[in-house]
Symmetry: C2
Subunit: 201 residues, 2 copies
């Protein structure tokens, strides 16, 4: 894809990438993707997002280790039997090294001094989604991962996050190891309700 790709094409092609080519990623591209993130809405336009862009290889390995531990401590057992085998295997590869092998890990945080804690998630995840879509529009691979938040204290210590900065997601960014086909989704009308829940559309 390229920056001129129509909006709906970018949306319909979004996939989670969990393996990346061993190829560097310019700061300029990271900035472009994160700038798109900042156009997301936030409670009363408080713009509470903060992005810790981790390039340092040792630090990426430590974050990857936390992710692996969170997966092995319960995530894998929880998902086994719930996920199709192929998706489970892909998530497993991602959580045990694939994601951490991306040249950049963006740890997306929210600053609770900018808005009420109750609306912080509502003011951070839309920016995360802009980030992911922008990456796709530029041909980059990315994924929304939250497993690592299971080790909040360790992650805070590694990244020197003050108390008012809450981490919400770790997003790997890099060139995809392979092109992924467009995703499949449940038909939207199975998720729609007219006026009241359960009435169908």
């Amino acid at each position: 894809m390229n920056p001129g790709t129509p909006f709906f094409d970018v949306v319909r092609r979004q996939r989670a990438h969990r393996s990346f080519r061993d190829e560097p990623l310019d700061d300029a591209l990271v900035e472009q993707v994160l700038e798109a993130a900042t156009y997301a809405p936030s409670a009363e336009n408080s713009q509470p997002w903060q992005f810790v862009v981790v390039r340092d290889a040792a630090l990426r390995a430590r974050i990857g280790d936390l992710t692996r531990r969170a997966w092995e401590a319960g995530g894998r057992d929880f998902e086994r039997g719930r996920l199709p085998d192929r998706l489970l295997a892909d998530v497993d590869r991602g959580a045990t090294g694939g994601v951490a092998a991306a040249p950049v890990l963006v740890v997306v945080c929210g600053d609770s001094s900018f808005c009420l804690p109750a609306v912080l998630a509502a003011s951070v995840f839309p920016a995360v989604q802009n980030l992911l879509l922008a990456a796709g529009a530029l041909g980059l691979g990315s994924a929304l991962t939250t497993l690592t938040m299971g080790f909040d204290a360790e992650l805070r210590e590694m990244l020197q996050l003050p108390d008012h900065i809450q981490p919400f997601a770790v997003v790997p960014l890099g060139w995809p190891a392979r092109e992924l086909r467009p995703p499949r989704r449940e038909p939207v009308d199975t998720k729609m309700h007219r006026d009241r829940f359960g009435r169908g559309w």
Copy 2:
């Protein structure tokens, strides 16, 4: 804008709309916008979103009344002095009738039987952001509002939401009363940190 609008143009023009023309909105457009929402990522692709599309005028008025009460019970006092006067006045008009006057209110919910409660917000707000962006791409106005969640029990009763369905946002959809200029944002590098928080970019 139109469906062929380039991705980054849609992103850079997103604004919160809080007043709408008195003009109907076809089901087909609502479906198109919500279909885009379903392409968002979710924890292990659980697709836990549920959309209650409220068109009924009496029900919209009741939701609008809840929103007004939440605003008058504390929201307005909290924001006074924090927001620029013009934004405060706009939010005030939205919360006291502007939003509820949209022909459609989409109450975006998450189904906690589809994924762990801890990852429900992370699996719903990206879909909300797709919804908002898609609306903009089609020339519709929309906004992410969460005030009404302050009256969770009343909202649940109105929409007949079962216990496992959690409401996260009320998104008005309609034709904008007027065109809004592109938003301004803090420079992205003021939100970026290299490797560790507080080190700057």
